[in-house]
Amino acid sequence: MKKKYIAAIIIIAIAITMIISMAGDASTYVSFDEARELSEKGFKKSIHVVGELPKTASGEVVGIEESPDKLSFKFEMLDENGMKQQVLYAEPIPTDFTRSEQVVIVGAYQGDKFVAEKILLKCPSKYQEEPEFTS
């Protein structure tokens, strides 16, 4: 019987280690202000910021700057508190970037710049139907 208990204790110990590292690996959704605070405190890990792209009254997205070789770009993003921040992204502009309704960026401040390593776009029409009918 004894060995069974030893095995059980080892398995439970491993499982608890997993739970602890899970809590450590989880990222958080924050605003730009909180993200800046975190990076000033020396927190180096990537976080998620949810927001949208600034638009003119006529609905045109502004603040996008593309590199001449098209391989990277900078853009401005408003977080959920409405704070504007320039974001650097070392990937080409996704084709449906300006059509997105919501943008989630994963990354961190490096100095006073926000460098994104991943961008998730939520496009309004994906997977949900809001058809426009003309009679």
Binding site: M1, K2, K3, K4, A7, I11, I14, A15, M18, I19, S21, M22, D25, A26, S27, T28, Y29, K45, S46, I47, H48, S67, P68, D69, K70, L71, S72, K74, L88, A90, E91, P92, I93, P94, T95, D96, R99, V104, V106, Q110, K113, V115, E117, K118, L120, K122, C123, P124, S125, K126, Y127, Q128, E129, P131, F133, S135
Partner: protein, 828 residues
């Protein structure tokens, strides 16, 4: 005209399916203790139920093939131009249809169970019918006591969507549907979901035997009939998962076959637990130990399938997954489904717990049970590790429910979160699957073990040493994983040879283990050593703002301009369309017709497009010896859904896959920026430059019609024929100059897309025998692409085949055992 009848018929079938499953469950419950009358009645009702399901599917398919866009399901998931084989895919794009698919398989499996079981018929079918009750309720779409039960696929568009047009014209029917999500327009998407759902459906069978057995007090006898089904389920589920991985590899543009997406994880978890369950069940059959563990694992695998269903369909994953379904408001119903089956299982397991004797004797380290138990533990730990990470959105919801904000986001480093821990556990798995086999087949002690293990141990060290040196492996984890996998392969090969000599029918285990080890090696190389060929090749520094460690993985290619990338010279040739008759055809040679499927090539031949949504980028790989191969990565533009989807193209070589996909290209909807027009005066026969290309004004020709429309008598038109030498071929530009009614001047320019210019005739100067041309230039057509080399990915697919073969051998053996005992009448 709205077709009301078909929808009502389908809805009626849905209600019959629900009621009949309820009735069947009741009849089988009554018949559970070998009551032949009730059991036979239950079986009849179950046939009615199955017929009703066929009715629902038939009706829905009828609506789809006849393009009845007044129905919401048809409108949202199909369109007129969709080929028939993709019309089938419409079923699983929507939640309701995928529930239908699941029910369909359950019905098929139920009929098989009715016809292959005697003793177990009623208790097993009781559980089967009960799952059908819950599944049927998901597509019921009726309101009972103000609670909406299920979401019917037979809802009219106007009942679902609140568009103003329905107020003015309730009988409005849209001309065309939204079409199928471009991601699903792939042949794998025709076969992958049915396979996966067959896997889903089969997990209920071992569960049904287990709970059915506990209900009637046959606490241990359920294992024999359940075992072959558990193996079948693990095989189908495994194949389904890998098909999904292959689909992702071929279709999605994240660059791999596995992304640790919550939807992928949700199925991987029960699969691992099911495999663990199979091992423990086999151990029970051999030595009578670990019955309780078998029960727990069999039940857990099915509960985890229900949990996966809940995760992917309740909308709880929200932002964290690319391919979860839209929330249909079924989350409450799904949660009840999950909780009912958890309660049922916990109740019956605790009820019978005391009746099951505990194993008395101490398990020795040299016993096969010990090794099996270790293997099952590692499998369960792997499942647990993925489970706790994937459930993060659930923690957020639970926290919200108790009134505080947890705010957990998915881990940003996928390697640390999933790949590394899974790899470490896989190392143990490889060691155990190699060593455990020896304990399985022979009684072992220290001496014998040494004798058995020495040979495979030495062989594997030699082989992995060679591979490590050749492949230059330095990462310690990769090193250990490789050595242990090679060990597992050699050890199992030794076992296989030994077993095959005496009875090949028993060799399923060793074949499967070799397959798994090969898969692990394939994953190790193709993922761990996948190299981005296109990285950092345009080392132009645009902005010093970027930190240095940011990798630039992509390559910009302008049309017809070669660019070096590692050992390859890359050339982008332009956009192609895929035609039935001529294969890939240059888009510039095609003109559209009113029929979206028909195009005209060079003004003469009519060709048929395979899919009008698809465009392909022709990309050539050249080496010093010349052109090596051409790839056609794809972009799909779905106007109705406003989606742009890129898919890779893959050159498959024996030792590596060359994976190429386009990241972005100029938006076809956007008019390019043209330069200021430049005027140039030329005489016939003159050579001149346009956008750095040599051009010759060959001749001027009077013409009698423009674009097929004849000119009026008063009109005069002339075209200039200009030949332009491109990098690889010559192009003709033919601008037109018209004088209408002797006074109005019209200029029709001609555009050469490949050379990025357009030219027009400004004026004709008869005195000077010359024409005044004007041209404008723009940016050349371009793509940004990524090229990745994935070495030895074929080992993953070969391993998968071996896994399947091994399972087939094992299933056959265990099923024949069951049949033999059943026919002897000693089923329980």
């Amino acid at each position: 005209m709205i077709h009301y009848f078909e929808g009502q018929l389908g809805h009626a079938f849905a209600i019959i399916a629900f009621v009949s499953s309820l009735l069947a469950a009741y009849a089988f419950f009554k018949g559970r203790n070998q009551d032949a009358k009730w059991t036979a009645f239950g079986a009849k009702i179950f046939y009615v139920h199955s017929f009703a399901i066929l009715g629902i599917i038939g009706t829905l398919f009828y609506l789809i093939t006849n393009h009845y866009f007044e129905y919401h399901y048809v409108f949202s998931h199909s369109s007129k131009i969709l080929p028939v084989y993709y019309q089938i895919s419409c079923f699983w794009e929507g939640q309701e249809g995928s529930f239908l698919l699941w029910m369909f398989w359950n019905a098929v499996l139920g009929i098989i169970l009715i016809n292959t079981n005697k003793f177990w018929k009623a208790p097993v079918m009781l559980i089967m019918s009960l799952t059908q009750v819950f599944l049927a309720s998901m597509i019921l779409g009726v309101v009972i006591f103000e609670v909406k039960l299920g979401s019917s696929p037979f809802m009219l568009l106007r009942e679902v969507i609140d568009a103003p047009i329905f107020k003015t014209n309730p009988n409005f029917i849209p001309e065309d549907g939204n079409g199928l999500n471009p991601l699903l327009q792939n042949y794998w998407m025709v076969i992958h979901p049915p396979t996966l759902f067959l896997g889903f459906a089969t997990t209920v069978i071992p569960f049904a035997y287990c709970i059915g057995g506990l209900i009637i007090g046959k606490n241990k006898e359920w294992i024999r009939p359940a075992l072959p089904w558990a193996q079948f389920s693990a095989m189908i589920l495994g194949v389904g998962i890998l098909m999904g991985a292959y689909w992702a590899y071929e279709t999605l543009n994240f660059g791999g076959y596995w992304n640790w997406d919550p939807v992928e994880n949700a199925i991987y978890i029960p699969w691992l637990v099911l495999v663990a369950a199979i091992h423990v069940m086999i151990a029970y059959k051999k030595s009578g130990s670990a019955l309780k563990l078998s029960m727990i694992l069999v039940v857990a695998s099915f509960i985890l399938v229900l949990y996966a269903t809940f995760l992917t369909r309740s909308g709880i994953l929200g932002n964290s997954s690319v391919h979860s379904f839209t929330d249909l408001g079924l989350s409450g119903q799904l949660l009840i489904y999950l909780l009912v089956f958890i309660t049922l299982s916990v109740f019956f397991i605790t009820k019978r717990w005391r009746e099951i004797p505990a194993t008395k004797e101490e398990t020795s380290t040299y016993s096969r049970e010990f090794w099996i138990f270790m293997g099952a533990s590692v499998l369960c730990l792997m499942a647990f590790q993925v489970l706790i990470y994937t459930s993060m959105p659930v923690y957020n919801q639970i926290a919200n429910f108790f009134g505080f904000d947890l705010n957990l986001a998915p881990p940003t480093d996928i390697y640390d979160a999933y790949s590394l821990p899974q790899m470490i556990l896989a190392i143990f798995l490889a060691i155990l699957s190699g060593t455990g086999q020896f304990f399985w087949w022979k009684k072992m002690d220290r001496k014998k073990l040494k004798a058995e293990l020495t040979t495979p141990f030495i062989i594997s060290l030699v082989i992995s040493g060679l591979v490590i040196v050749i492949a230059k492996i330095t990462n310690p984890y990769y090193l250990i994983l490789l050595v242990t996998c090679v060990y597992s392969i050699t050890a199992n090969a030794k076992i296989f040879i030994g077993v095959a000599k005496s009875n090949i029918k028993l060799s399923g285990g060793s074949i499967t283990h070799i397959g798994v080890a090969l898969m692990l090696v394939g994953i190790l190389f193709s993922s761990g050593y996948s190299t981005i060929l296109s990285t950092n090749y345009t080392s132009m520094v645009w902005s010093t703002e970027f930190p240095e460690e940011v990798n630039r993985d992509n390559l910009l290619l302008f049309i017809n301009e070669p660019r070096q990338m590692k050992e390859y010279s890359m050339i982008y040739r332009g956009i192609r369309k895929e035609t039935r008759e001529d294969g890939y055809v240059d888009q510039n040679e095609l003109t559209l017709t009113p029929d979206p499927l028909k195009v005209i090539k060079n003004g003469t031949d009519t060709l048929t497009l395979i899919s009008p949504e698809n465009s392909f980028f022709e990309v050539e790989y050249h080496t010093k010896e010349g052109k090596e191969f051409t790839l056609f990565p794809r972009v799909q533009i779905n106007q109705a859904m406003d989606m742009i989807v890129y898919s890779p193209d893959i050159k498959r070589k024996l030792s590596a896959d060359m994976y190429t996909h386009v990241r972005t290209f100029p938006d076809p909807d956007q008019e390019p920026d043209w330069s200021e027009p430049k005027e140039i005066k030329v005489e016939i026969g003159d050579q001149f430059f346009i956008n750095d290309y040599v051009a010759t004004l060959e001749r001027m020709e009077p013409i009698a019609e423009i674009d097929g429309t004849p000119l009026n008598q008063e009109d005069v038109a002339v075209k200039a024929v200009i030949e332009v030498q491109g990098e690889y071929k010559n192009y003709l530009a033919e601008p037109i100059f018209v004088i209408r009614n002797r006074e109005f001047v019209g200029r029709i320019d001609d555009q050469v897309d490949d050379l990025a210019f357009r030219i027009s005739i400004q004026n004709i100067l008869p005195q000077e025998n010359a024409v005044l041309l004007a041209y404008q230039t723009t940016q050349k057509d371009w793509i940004i692409m990524e090229a990745v080399k994935k070495p030895w990915i074929n080992l993953l697919w070969i391993g998968t085949f071996l896994l399947v073969i091994g399972f087939v051998v094992a299933i056959r053996r265990r099923y024949l055992e069951f049949v033999k005992m059943r026919d002897k009448g000693v089923e329980a």
